[in-house]
Amino acid sequence: MFHALVAIKQVPDTTNIRIDPDTGNLVREGVPAIMNPYDAHALAAAVELKRKLNGKVTVISMGPSSFNATLREAIELGADRGILLSDRKFAGADTLATSYVLAQAIKAIHEEEPVHMLFFGKQAIDGDTAQVGPGVAVRLDLPIVTYVSSIREVDLERQKAVFDRRTERWSEIIETSLPVLLTCEKEIAPVPFAPLPDLIRSLRYEPEFWSKSDGPATFDDAYVGSKGSPTIVYKMGTPPLPEAGEKINSREVGVDAAVKSALQQVEAAGVLAEILGGAV
């Protein structure tokens, strides 16, 4: 049976900080926690495939128990099984330690029920690092295709699949063997509005809970959490304030005069001649 695995992270909804259209003020009222948007699209793609190939989708997430809400949402969107990897010792993980925990869990899941495809988001919007997917692929020694914008073909018999991969300059059509790990763009599949029966099932669903010692996966203390994280936050600060230049009010001096004065300054900085010199 086709088996897809999706790694999902819960993130604060940084992109959806609302700006009040009337006042231009930030509406900060409880910035909610959401499923990382790229992961939602990855999940949607996995669910589309499982429906087509008549298979199963398992989702995993590493984080505190509040991440259960996101796993339930994954069930709502069509996943069959949700596993939360949670342990006090897992806390404080950087991307390297995160990829270790996910990889160990995936190994255990794979042993129970072989996995054909692993779906990750392109990146998590809280850190934008895009490192965990490649990290897990390396640990499991799997082929990886990043920035997947569509799945062309999955052939379980030949154990091959074909994808569109988007880079800055072009799209590649790329073929790999299975199992394969993907990191997904939003285009890969639209996130569906779940049918009511799926929602009701998800509301009653209790995700499985795997900790360091509880569950079929094994974890080595040295690799998890802050202990297994080579990077250390050394200090935090606020960005320095730049020095502001002159402000010319066109309502006071007139538009033409303001423009003239501004261009004179560009010229004085030696920039305009360079640009116009090239243009003339």
Binding site: D20, D22, T23, N25, L26, R28, E29, P195, L196, I200
Partner: protein, 446 residues
């Protein structure tokens, strides 16, 4: 618990639409009696989109959920000072009550924020056994095709989104789309009877809240209505509530007025916040949230039929708000409870006809809800016809009392004449007397 009947339909014993104050109360009462209740909420979670001032009244909470204080409700502060502030152009007169009954536990009211209160309130319904279905909007009803058109379920916006139940309680709040759909009321909200309330929550340290509002400590709080120079002299009313580490400041203005004068809500609010008497109270605070919400102020005049076969309506959806006192939460909760009790009764009889559910209206009548709404029925009409109440009198009171409390070295007799003069300048003396009479009528139901 299985919600599927033999034919695979999703079925419950009762459906409540809207996990607001009325809805969760209704769900709680029914679930406690063992009914299998679906509580449907369109927001991501209860309270996500809800706003109010506001103060919430303990008598109503206690009635629905006895011993609720043990369940750690997310209150900000008890209301230990309440009253009116009258703003003139540049001054303010305060008429508030503090101490006495307000100081005694159990407190009559608490200030709270809906984003915290509603989830807690819905949790109590869930704890009683109600099944909360979030992120789902009810868009229509399923009617029996036996000729009576009795409501037997709802249609939601989701695929395969029908849910069946013999009784549905509509607690959809102020946007009465569903009551209209059932033709319980024949029209949209009337702009002239509906206020748009908008507010800001401004953060201040608890110490600053205490010192600026004259509160001895964090277990004291203030809830006042502000009238006069709040809304450019137009019919409207402001409010100030102290939270633990923030202040809620806002005002409501009737929709028709906003439209007629092409006013932008935030401009009025900005102006109000810059008022010389208000600005120092919030100075240096950070804007935490900005929100707007409608209030149905038509009260009695705008009530829909509150029941029909298989359906009851409670809370704002039934226009159960006392505009003068900013009271809506208590009516919503009690009405939710009364509707729930009627539903339980209907279940025990196995009869959900309009006739059985008409007991709901009887229950409302027996309680303060219909009585209060009747009593205040003319109040908002009064405000419409007497804009001077919002403008002239607060200014007058300010001048008058300002004079009264300063010595000026004048004989008191002259002072009183001046005060009277100040009023009659603004409004003819007979008119003034008439105003007072009609105001009294509006409030007291003379």
């Amino acid at each position: 618990m299985n919600n599927y009947d033999n034919s695979g339909k999703i079925t419950f014993d009762a459906i409540v639409i809207g996990a607001g104050l009325a809805g969760s109360a209704a769900a709680m009462i029914m679930a406690r009696e063992g009914l299998n209740v679906a509580l449907i909420e369109r927001g991501n979670k209860p309270g996500a989109k809800n706003y109010f001032g506001g103060a919430i009244y303990t008598h109503a909470i206690e009635e629905v959920l006895p011993g609720f204080m043990d369940l750690k409700p997310p209150f900000e502060r008890p209301v230990t000072e309440a009253g009116f502030w009258f703003l003139s152009k540049d001054g303010m007169m305060r008429a508030s009550v503090q101490g006495g009954k307000l100081e005694k536990e159990p407190y009559d009211a608490y200030v709270t924020l809906r984003a915290a209160f509603d989830p807690w309130w819905a949790e109590q319904a869930q704890a009683a056994g109600a099944f909360l279905i979030p992120k789902t909007t009810v868009i229509d009803f399923i009617r029996d095709d036996d000729g009576h058109g009795q409501v037997i379920g709802v249609v939601t916006d989701r695929p395969q989104g029908e849910i069946y139940a013999p009784v549905v309680i509509i607690c959809e709040g102020v946007n009465n789309l569903l009551t209209q759909k059932l033709e319980l009321i024949g029209r949209d909200l009337e702009p002239a009877h509906t206020a748009l309330a908008f507010k800001q929550v401004i953060s201040l340290s608890p110490q600053l809240v205490n010192s600026r509002f004259g509160l001895p400590d964090n277990s004291h709080g203030l809830a006042v209505s502000v009238v006069g120079d709040v809304s450019l002299g137009l019919p409207g009313m402001g409010f100030v509530y102290t939270n633990k580490g923030s202040v809620s400041v806002g005002l409501g203005v009737m929709l028709d007025v906003l439209a007629e004068y092409r006013l932008k809500p935030y401009e009025i609010l900005e102006r109000y916040l810059k008022h010389p008497a208000i600005a120092p109270l919030v100075e240096g605070g950070q804007l935490l949230e900005y929100g707007a919400h409608l209030i149905p102020e038509g009260g009695w005049r705008d009530m829909p039929d509150v029941y029909t076969g298989g359906v009851m309506v409670a809370g704002d959806a039934a226009s159960m708000v006392n505009a003068l006192h900013w009271e809506g939460t208590n009516m919503a909760m009690i009405a939710g409870k009364l509707a729930a009790e009627t539903a339980i009764e209907a279940h025990s009889r196995g009869d959900f006809s309009a006739k059985t559910l008409s007991r709901y209206e009887d229950r409302l009548r027996e309680r303060f809800i219909l009585q209060d709404l009747r009593q205040y029925r003319n109040f908002s009409k009064f405000l419409e016809q007497h804009p001077e109440f919002m403008e002239v009198y607060p200014a007058f009171l300010n001048d008058a009392l300002g004079g009264f409390f300063s010595a000026y070295g004048k004989p008191k007799r002259q002072l009183f004449q001046e005060i009277l003069g100040a009023l009659t300048d603004r409004r003819g003396i007979f008119k003034a007397a008439g105003d007072i009479v009609s105001m009294g009528r509006a409030v007291m139901g003379w």
